[in-house]
């Protein structure tokens, strides 16, 4: 665990220095306790003033321990604020942006957020809080035990007997707590999703009078969680009780045995009282051990969570990047699947010629957007190759590849800042005039004019203050501003208002002019405007997607294949009327 934790420090020696500091302070504590014996002997004797010397020994060790511990704690506070928090967050962040897209799913926001806040926060307590408690809880009693052994071996033996019991209990408690810590998030996640579903399903549930706790899935989730928490508490309660009992038994045994030895004349009163003081002091660390165990287990889970992110391999960069000549795109014999046992493409080949519009059509889930994302190297292909301008994308520097490509997605994500900032994202060094031109060419100027703060209007989280059509215009403006030679376009599917639809179609045609375009087309108008169409098969029976037809749209429409049928479907949906 230490080795794993150590990776967050700027200097690998830091953690060992901290541990050394805590150990030294704890040993000094133990020695101070034993110096107490000498002090008491003189102090409780006939002439208390003879305790002068022993008192300064006691104070000296106490003060030395104080200085070492204070210095170590200050250092620990600093490194955990800077090294642990700072480095962990930086490493998580820089890894996240380099992870292949396949890593991201509906749960990734939660995972990354909790790694950056909760787990990092947990880890930041390890060096300044958990470690000193843990170390002083072990080292000081051990020192005292050794010292006691020197004075009175029988009492030392009693103390030593506690050690194996503590170790056994510790192992048991750690295992128990680890399982519980790992199960808790899953239980919480189930309640969370039931709660969200309950909110979404309100109209249906109310119609049936089964809203709230009357809806079995939600009632069950809450009930399960309650029972799960109960189990966790029981699991934590048992070791707590066991450690508590052990601590008390230990103290009672030392007291009774000590008195026996004193009355038998085997030990002087001062030593007995001092040993009693130490024993009384160490019942607390023993009964608290379970909490140290819990804290350490929690940190282990935090380390796991963070490592799951920072140790996921990123897409490799080429060692000797090559420059593409041209912008033609070729997929040659590509094989790819999101999961090992699920092949999406097998021997898939297609080409998008320079300066031409290539449309991909096919049923949902057949992998059209995967093709587009593979071209931009969001993932690497499993076999075969994808090349841009004659060079395999894996051999192009990722910054250069990204510079060549503009992408307009259908689910456009905007950042919670101004419209101007959002557009500028695609070329941070663009001039005001260039920005204005891009905004106007994207037809965004009309939208902006209607907004209270114009270009400086904030778009809200995810851009939700803008409509779908408006968000796509921002994305188009980004593409105009970036002005890259390749355009990858995922056309918006959801129905747009009449005005929006015709305007966006026109804008996109302008954007496409003079570029190499690969478009996932959902509208007949877009498809018919393409130079070349690839019709992809659906994934019946889970088989890989194939290219079933290719050619110019006019040619294909005149035939009797899948494309012609598709065009028929288009006309039928366009003619549909609710009644």
């Amino acid at each position: 665990m230490l080795r794993r934790f150590n990776t967050f420090f700027d200097r690998p020696s830091t953690i060992y220095l901290l541990i050394a500091g805590y150990v030294v302070a704890a040993v000094l504590q133990g020695i101070a306790f034993s110096a107490f014996i000498g002090f008491l002997r003189a102090f409780l004797g006939p002439d208390p003033s003879r305790a002068w010397g022993p008192m300064w020994v006691l104070i000296g060790f106490g003060a030395a321990s104080f200085v070492v511990q204070a210095a170590t704690l200050i250092r620990a506070n600093r490194v955990s604020a800077y090294d642990v928090c700072g480095n962990a967050v930086a490493r998580i962040g820089s890894r996240v942006v380099r992870l292949p897209l396949g890593w991201f799913d509906s749960g990734s926001v939660g995972r990354v957020s909790s790694a950056i806040s909760t787990e990092t926060d947990n880890l930041s307590h390890l060096a300044p809080v958990v470690l000193p408690q843990f170390i002083s809880g072990i080292v000081t009693p051990l020192t005292v035990m050794v010292v006691t052994f020197c004075y009175e071996w029988r009492l030392g033996l009693i103390m030593a007997l506690v050690v194996p019991v503590v170790v056994l209990l510790w192992n048991w408690a750690s295992r128990l707590l680890m399982t519980e810590h790992q199960e808790a998030p899953a239980i919480a996640a189930r309640t969370a999703s039931a709660t969200i579903e309950h909110a979404h399903l309100q109209p249906v549930l109310r119609a049936q009078g089964i809203s709230g706790t009357a809806w079995p899935p939600l009632a069950k989730a809450l009930d399960d969680e309650n029972r799960g928490l109960d189990a966790i508490m029981t699991a934590q309660g048992r070791p707590a009780i066991a450690f508590g009992l052990l601590g008390q038994a230990f103290f009672a045994a030392v007291l009774a045995a000590g008195l026996g030895v004193v009355l038998g004349g085997g030990l002087d009163v001062a030593a007995f009282v001092a040993i009693g003081v130490m024993a009384a002091r160490f019942t607390t660390p023993i009964s608290q051990s379970v909490f140290y165990a819990a804290a350490l287990q929690q940190d282990m889970v935090s380390l796991d969570t963070i490592e799951q992110i920072v140790q996921t391999p990123a897409l490799p960069e080429p060692a000797h990047p090559r420059h593409p000549s041209g912008t033609g795109i070729v997929l040659d014999d590509v094989g790819f699947g999101y999961e090992a046992d699920d092949t999406l493409f097998e021997h898939l080949s297609l080409r998008a010629d320079e300066g031409r519009i290539t449309a991909l059509v096919g049923p949902s889930g057949c992998g059209k957007s995967t093709i587009v994302k593979l071209i931009a190297r969001f993932w690497d292909v499993g076999s075969g190759s994808i090349s841009v301008g004659g060079v395999d994308v894996r051999r192009i520097d990722s910054a250069e590849l990204m510079g060549m490509v503009s992408m307009v997605f259908q689910d456009v994500y905007l950042f919670d800042t101004t419209i101007a900032e959002n557009v500028r994202l695609s070329r941070p060094d663009a001039s005001e005039a260039e920005l204005a031109a891009a905004i106007s060419r994207a037809g965004l100027d009309a939208v902006v004019a209607a907004l209270p703060d114009g270009l400086d209007t904030r778009v809200g989280e995810g851009g939700l203050r803008l409509s779908g059509g408006e968000r796509q215009r921002v994305s188009i403006a980004r593409a105009f501003l970036k002005d890259s030679p390749i355009l990858l376009l995922d056309e918006i599917t959801s129905a747009l208002d009449a005005e929006n639809e015709s305007a966006i179609t026109q804008t996109l045609a302008e954007l496409a002019a003079g570029r190499t375009v690969v478009v996932i087309a959902h509208r007949l108008s877009t498809i018919m405007n393409a130079d070349q169409v690839y019709v992809l098969s659906g994934r019946e029976h889970g088989g890989p997607t194939r290219i079933v037809e290719q050619g110019s749209p006019a040619e294909l429409a005149a035939g009797d294949g899948m494309f012609a049928a598709l065009v028929q479907d288009f006309w039928r949906t366009a003619r549909w009327s609710v009644r």
């Binding site: 504590q29 967050v89 009355l263 009282v273």
Partner: protein, 590 residues
């Protein structure tokens, strides 16, 4: 566990009222913890008395008596303390469970619009995370506080009784040390705590952004602005934590180091030694101080921490309170008696605003006769979605009224109103449950045959049969067995089963290909048969044959009529139609 009906009692005003159910057990638990921790002092007194007895040559029975008393006190302490902690945790768990039940039951009484105005994340947080934060409130307040007070009050009381001067000198010294070390940090904390929470919120927000917008981040390269925002937030966060550490960390570290047991022991005996030399006290009294005093500075520290935790918990409980005090939708006790066909919808001079002063719907009157199709068209933001949702009583109108079956929707029970209509919106509404159960949400007592029949009518049966377990396949996160269009047909199947007289739908489907869309269209056509339909339409071709088309713009109904009437009128609809037709014909000629 029974939950109070919403009418009974007002919602809790503050954290104190929120936790009212747990107060009795908290008090009992606190009392047990106090007694338990007070007993912790007995072994120390025992040790002092044994030492005294050994010196004065007391009888052995007296000495062993103290050993037994000490051991017994420790056992009682252990039992009382663990019992109190356990009881407090259980009280807290019970309270949390009860609060969650109350919260979700509260949700069935809030207007549907309440959900519309909040992200599901907010709702989830109020129910799950924030009720958990009440944990520290209940457990720490009663258990830890009582426990600490037990140690400090009884211990200090005993020492005061032994030697008031020595006790006074020690407490003064420690309070001075604590004040010197902790006050600057507390003061700095108040100041930089704001900065710190702000930096933390900012970091959390940009993290969510970075992950949610990961495609854009990759699109524009990670060196671009987005990652820059993350990086800046991260640096600020690190700087603020560093500043916080610098201002308060040193004081905290010094206090922490000074509170090591042997260090406290050394200090106490040092002062005690001086007191003895001055002739102010006895060596045995100093021994008692050496034993008991160790717990007191720790206790003072713990008190500070407990108050910090309680404060934080009370802050977190705020959103729970907000939900519980959300305004409920007033509804009558018994279902209303319809005075007209129950599929007749009438809007009479309806006005509505989300925020006072900015009306979204202005004086709209519209009648949807039984069995007819009404299409709402118009620019986005014009108010057509709001209008459709007002019919489903997502919110209550500001003025005018909406009647269904001749009765104001506000005079109908929630269940009555909701069961008179099916809502088919863009949002996919499925539950983590089997396919069959998801359809049966439309009518829980439906037989398997009826469910299959509904699925066939919604053109989704064939697809369901290809799922691994057919109708018994679990839907849900990760499983992702159904596409958006398929999930939509599932909700249509649900509507078939519920068979309400009114259908409110948003045409914008989440389809991805023409074939899938065709299936949805067919399902909707079948569902619409014989019902009163209100449809938010985007493509005008879809609603050419609607019985009436209402053009909604700027919160008003600009025009109403049939397709032919509106075209002939040459108004806004005619313009929209021309614009859309241009796109269509453009495609045809391409």
């Amino acid at each position: 566990m029974s939950t109070p009906p919403p009418a009974a009692g007002r919602p809790p005003k503050n954290v104190w009222e929120l936790t009212a159910g747990a107060h009795r057990s908290m008090l009992l638990g606190g009392l047990a913890a106090f007694i338990g921790s007070a007993l912790k002092i007995v072994p120390y007194i025992g040790l002092v008395e044994i030492a005294r007895g050994l010196w004065s040559g007391a009888p052995r029975a007296h000495l062993w008596g103290w050993v037994v008393a000490s051991a017994a006190a420790m056992v009682v302490h252990g039992v009382a303390y663990t019992g109190a902690v356990g009881a407090n945790h259980r009280t807290e768990a019970a309270l949390r469970y009860e609060l969650r039940l109350r919260l979700v039951d509260k949700l069935k009484h809030v207007p549907l619009g309440w959900f519309n105005d909040r992200s599901s994340g907010v709702v989830r947080k109020a129910i799950t995370s924030d009720t958990s934060s009440i944990h520290s409130l209940v457990t720490h307040l009663s258990g830890d506080l009582a426990n600490t007070l037990g140690v400090v009050v009884v211990g200090f009381g005993y020492l005061l009784w032994l030697d008031a001067r020595l006790a006074g000198a020690l407490i003064a010294g420690w309070l001075l040390l604590l004040a010197l070390c902790m006050l600057p940090s507390l003061r700095a904390m108040g100041r930089s705590f704001e900065d710190y929470s702000a930096a933390e919120r900012e970091l959390a927000a940009v993290t969510v952004e970075m992950v949610d917008g990961i495609k854009e981040v990759k699109n524009f390269g990670m060196t671009a602005t987005v990652f820059g925002r993350f990086d800046a937030a991260r640096r600020r966060h690190a700087d603020v934590s560093m500043e916080w550490m610098n201002s308060s960390g040193i004081g905290v570290a010094i206090v922490g180091a000074a509170m090591q047991p042997a260090t406290i022991l050394a200090l106490t005996t040092g002062i005690g030694y001086w007191f003895v030399r001055m002739g102010w006290t006895q060596p045995l009294t100093v021994l008692a101080f050496a034993l008991v005093w160790v717990g007191i500075p720790e206790g003072l520290m713990a008190l500070v921490q407990i108050f910090q935790q309680v404060y934080a918990a009370a802050e977190a409980a705020r959103s729970t309170l907000d939900v519980l005090s959300a305004e409920e939708l007033p509804e009558p006790a018994a279902p209303a008696v319809y005075t007209a066909d129950r599929s007749l919808i009438e809007l009479e001079h309806v006005s509505f605003s989300y925020e006072p002063g900015t009306p979204v719907i202005k004086d709209v009157s519209l009648t949807c006769r039984p069995g007819t199709v009404t299409a709402l068209v118009g620019p986005s933001g014009g108010g057509k979605s709001t209008l459709a949702k007002l019919i489903a009583r997502f919110w209550d109108v500001d003025s005018g009224r909406i009647k269904i079956g001749g009765v104001d929707v506000r005079d109908q029970t929630n269940q009555q109103l909701m069961s008179s209509m099916s809502l088919v919106f863009q949002e996919i509404m499925t539950a983590t449950d089997t396919v069959a159960q998801n359809i049966a949400l439309g009518r829980p007592d439906a037989t398997r045959d009826e469910i299959v029949e509904a699925a066939r009518a919604a053109h989704i049966h064939e697809r369901i049969m290809t799922l691994p377990d057919g109708y018994d396949t679990m839907l849900g996160e990760g499983a992702g067995f159904l596409s958006g269009g398929e999930a939509q047909r599932l909700t249509i199947a649900r509507a078939f089963l519920a068979a309400p007289p009114i259908l409110i739908l948003d045409e914008a489907t989440a389809q991805a290909d023409a074939h899938s869309e065709l299936e949805i269209q067919r399902a909707i056509t079948a569902l619409a048969r014989g019902r009163t339909v209100v449809m938010i339409a985007h493509r005008l071709s879809t609603i050419r044959s609607a019985d009436q088309i209402a053009v909604v713009d700027g919160g008003r109904v600009a025009e109403v009529g049939t397709h032919d009437q509106l075209l002939a009128a040459g108004g806004q609809y005619a313009e929209l139609w021309a614009a859309q037709n241009q796109t269509m014909t453009g495609a045809r000629h391409a």
